[in-house]
């Protein structure tokens, strides 16, 4: 299982800038394993949802062209200290991971 999501939130007035790191191999399926024999199977995050106080604000579909350990940045308006920002990802194998943190 990949490592947990990391999230950093900076509140400037009513706008929260959210930076997210999602540890994940993001394998394209085009790479050979270190022995150079078999191809490493495709394994990538294909869906990401971000929420503000439980309400979806961003719904993203990704391809395998997103970098390994994906970085995502977005901005939520109407945010204030104590609000909760959540991120959930799902990969092509059906694995998912979520993190929800309050804005400081």
């Amino acid at each position: 299982m990949p490592d947990p999501i990391k999230m950093r939130i900076a509140l400037d007035g009513e706008v929260a800038t959210v930076k997210v790191l999602m540890p994940h191999p993001m394998e394209t399926g085009l790479r050979k394993d270190p022995l150079g024999e078999a191809m490493v199977p495709m394994h990538f995050i294909h869906h990401v949802v971000a929420t503000h106080n439980g309400r979806t604000v961003l719904d993203a579909q990704w391809s395998r062209s997103v970098s390994k350990n994906p970085f995502l940045e977005f901005r939520v308006r109407g945010a204030k200290s104590g609000d909760r920002i959540g991120v959930t990802w799902e990969d092509n194998r059906g694995e998912t991971m979520s993190l929800e943190v309050p804005i400081k």
């Binding site: 706008v15 394209t28 085009l30 790479r31 294909h46 869906h47 949802v49 971000a50 929420t51 503000h52 439980g54 309400r55 979806t56 604000v57 961003l58 719904d59 993203a60 579909q61 990704w62 391809s63 395998r64 062209s65 997103v66 970098s67 390994k68 994906p70 970085f71 995502l72 940045e73 977005f74 901005r75 939520v76 308006r77 109407g78 959540g86 991120v87 959930t88 998912t96 979520s98 929800e100």
Partner: protein
């Protein structure tokens, strides 16, 4: 006469089944919501657009081949990326009511990299790091109602291959 009646019956049954299916969907969504509060998968994946293997096909499949180039779409990416596996891309839209932002790497094996659907409460700006197969134009497309706009810029990569 009898066949007309049967036909009507068939149509009614189909309508009822469709309605039931919708209802079941709603119940399932609610149940899932209880188990995992953050899962509210809204947009369906445009598989055809993501699978398209050339930029012109991907643009058509995504329904954005007729987008108009606009300065209201701001695409920030390096002129030269030292590592093709990590190219930082930021897209900002100044188009009112921006609903979706799409990013394409025109020479990737499958050019559509990501689609971001923005819901109320999100600023029309996103950043993401992407892989590029080779030096190519990047293209950002913004959807706002029926309006479609794009921006395009070239990014050269000095360290090849998108395998990493």
């Amino acid at each position: 006469m009898a066949s007309d009646f049967l036909h009507l019956q068939h149509r009614l049954r189909r309508r009822l089944l469709a309605r039931l299916a919708g209802l079941t969907g709603a119940i399932l969504a609610t149940t899932t919501g209880l188990l995992a509060p953050i899962v509210a998968w809204a947009g369906a994946r445009n598989v055809e657009a993501f699978d398209a293997k050339a930029i012109d096909l991907a643009l058509v499949a995504a329904g954005v081949a007729d987008a108009v180039e606009s300065e209201d779409v701001i695409l920030r990416a390096p002129d030269i990326a030292e590592n093709s596996a990590i190219v930082h891309v930021e897209i900002q839209s100044k188009v009112p009511d921006t609903r979706s932002i799409l990013i394409f790497a025109e020479k990737n094996p499958q050019p559509l990299v990501a689609q971001f659907d923005l819901l109320p409460g999100l600023e029309p700006i996103v950043a993401v790091r992407i892989k590029m197969a080779e030096s190519a134009h990047l293209r950002a497309v913004v959807l706002a109602g029926d309006r479609k706009y794009f921006a395009r810029r070239e990014t050269k990569v000095t360290l090849g291959g998108c395998a990493g």
